[in-house]
Symmetry: C2
């Protein structure tokens, strides 16, 4: 009998492997510094279970139909109002609810990119975004970040050069200007303004991923790129970091013609209205700002604990930028270090992290590690960072002095 | 200032318009024979609101994380067990939960189709599927159905011809073998076997959309194509018709290598685990067979009422196949009738239906109308069909005798 998978192939867009080399650390006492998860004890469980009961009891017949009851509209209005706090003014027909911002990224890619089109990203960038662009068969070019975010000057040089030599301009630039994942950095005001001007001059879109916007530890405010040049920005955000990722609800804000196309790509299918009814019920009367303040208080303490642990465990073997928000600390090691080489050792010793290569378009070895401080406890942070340092120093010793320690398989 | 949408374009895959020319009949007394919706009074609201409360209260912390608690696995097991009732044996790693079967269709298309690839469908076919294939930039070829479903003999001729002349074989055939939407017909056993053999011989996939499988009014059983040739079938089903579409949960069953690719395309993102936890809680101890029996009883009565109303209102101006299951009656008019021409008149008079052209790859005028008997009441069915007949006879009179009645805008 013929085996179908030898005889004909999947579409070219299908990647061969997942984008992230996830460590499957499963023992119960293992410490997950790899998971970019929210702190479960801060989920509003009680309010949510009541909201779930009431939403179904009150609006169940409509909540179970394709288009739902009032929930989807209430969510749009909530997003509209909350966006104003961040300076974003949008009509309801400029807002689309998505299955998390991950779907927003995917829709933006499929809306704008034909195979062979160019997309420019930060280096490092978010692995699921890289995966989405690969799947859209785009050509990905990366630009470094520093402590002020994307090196817009280098981007500008590349645009100038492309203009002069008739080389391709990107269809869009994908950026996480605020509390970058994994870099932890934030784009300066000056660079924001320059980037907006470049989008105008060179005629490209900006896909602005603002997943961590609410988790602002410092109080310093930065204008979303959307506020600077709304017609060129596809703005993405999510309930994952402020309520919980299990809901799989996020949103896109853009020109209404973009939103129309995104809806078409979604096959006209609405996004699960049932969950939206429940979330709408939760948000109705929910003390959201208080909730966010709690998140900020907790996560910023966790960040401090992790930063201290890193300093005391690694000393000057690593450098990092202290993030003003978000979930991550991004360690930079000496340039000959390949963090993928001690990923498995660290896992064996009981701690997971995400190695550098997952965040780069080329997926090559890099001297970086992403540690997430949001999910684990303070005690775990201290212990986890310590174990990680042990794994690193053992690797480093072997690398430098070639000790023939038996590598675990 | 330059306007970005004049200067650069959306990806080629983006369709210009929605696939279905929906009538927006909004007055409260209007009768929606167009909506392919479930009967809301049959939703298990009470059990579901309790399930929602309990699922969140008990598993909320995990239900709100990315990967959830036990819910997603319980759903897989439920699907596995229920599939056995229909003769489908599948391992858990051959089952993937999707955002409704609509996402299943989209994933199948994006997994298998490169631009220019061929896909063969029934004529008529499901409009969202046609939209998905257009969006994948596929070449769509249609084959007629009769009262025994897809004309597999014509398909076979086309394959023979393609083989002889070195013309393209389809990557897959999309079919709704059981209670076809909109045709209402079911593929005979003999044709099922033949189609499975052809898939083997000519080396193509079959995407089997089995959305109405549980709504079997006659008791006659037909083997899903998946049971005949599992390694070549991507089997799709949904909770939309048995629980409610608002949940946006369906499933795909296929070879595990296909499922792996589908997961990659979904950007490794899990499908909303929150809703899955709630559904799992509902299904746990839910008298599902009893529930389905109620649906069958109700929908089959509705079908009978509609069939009678059509016969008495339209007489021999239409023919249709009495469906053994599902939601729809598919009216065929005389061949010079274009149902799109009285769609708006009917809407003005208070009744909506879906005109023929929505179901054809070419989106041209056709003498067909899809009426849905699941959503409306018996009384509405009778009144709605009556009004529709009035609209049709007025149109027909004008068409035949050229009366210059003023068309409403
Ligand atoms: C920058 C960024 N964008 C998007 C996402 C995905 O979020 P969602 O759960 O909304 O898909 C994440 C989550 O890790 C993220 O860090
Ligand atoms: C044949 C068929 N497939 C798929 C669907 C879509 O179902 P879901 O709600 O699961 O996306 C429908 C719904 O009308 C249908 O008729």
């Amino acid at each position: 009998m013929s085996t179908p998978f030898d005889l004909f192939s999947f579409a070219k867009r299908i990647p061969a492997t997942p984008s992230i080399g996830s460590t499957t650390v499963t023992k119960p006492d293992h410490i997950h510094l790899s998971f970019g998860f929210a702190a479960p004890h801060l989920f509003p469980i009680e309010q949510l279970s009541r909201a779930a009961y009431e939403a179904v009891a009150q609006h169940g017949r409509k909540a179970l139909q394709y288009s739902g009851s009032g929930g989807p509209r209430k969510i749009l209005e909530w997003i509209q109002n909350r966006s104003l706090v961040h300076g974003i003014k949008a009509e309801l027909n400029q807002i689309m609810v998505t299955y998390g911002s991950t779907q927003g990224i995917d829709l933006a890619a499929r809306m704008l990119l034909d195979p062979g089109d160019h997309v420019w990203v930060e280096s490092p960038s978010f692995f699921s975004a890289l995966q989405a662009f690969r799947t859209a068969e785009a050509v990905i070019t990366s630009f470094p970040i520093d402590e002020d975010g994307l090196r817009v000057d280098l981007l500008e040089n590349a645009l100038l050069e492309a203009g002069r030599n008739n080389k391709p301009i990107p269809k869009f630039i994908y950026t996480m200007p605020t509390y970058h994942n994994p870099g932890g950095v934030t784009l300066s005001n000056e660079r924001r303004r320059r980037l907006a001007q470049l989008a105008e001059t060179y005629n490209f879109f900006i896909v602005e991923d603002d997943a961590y916007s609410e988790l602002n530890f410092s109080g310093r405010k930065f204008p979303p790129l959307y506020t600077l040049i709304p017609e060129r920005v596809i703005y993405l955000n999510t309930f994952s970091k402020i309520i919980g990722p299990g809901l799989r609800l996020g949103w896109m804000i853009a020109d209404k013609r973009v939103i129309e196309k995104a809806r078409l790509l979604n096959l006209g299918g609405s996004i699960g209205v049932f969950t939206q009814e429940i979330l709408a019920q939760l948000l109705d009367g929910f003390a959201f700002q208080e909730h966010v303040d709690q998140l900020i208080l907790h996560y910023s303490e966790q960040r401090d604990v992790m930063a201290e642990a890193v300093q005391s465990s690694f000393g000057d073997h690593v450098t990092f930028h202290l993030p003003e928000g978000g979930f991550y600390i991004w360690l930079q090691f000496g340039k000959h270090v390949n963090t993928s080489d001690f990923l498995r050792d660290a896992a064996e010793m009981g701690v997971s992290f995400v190695d550098g290569k997952s965040f780069f378009a080329k997926q090559e070895g890099y001297p970086y590690a992403r540690l997430c401080f949001s999910y684990v406890s303070e005690e775990q942070i201290v212990r986890g960072v310590n174990i990680l340092a042990d794994a690193y120093f053992a690797y480093e010793e072997q690398r430098l002095f070639g000790l023939t320690k038996q590598q675990p398989l």
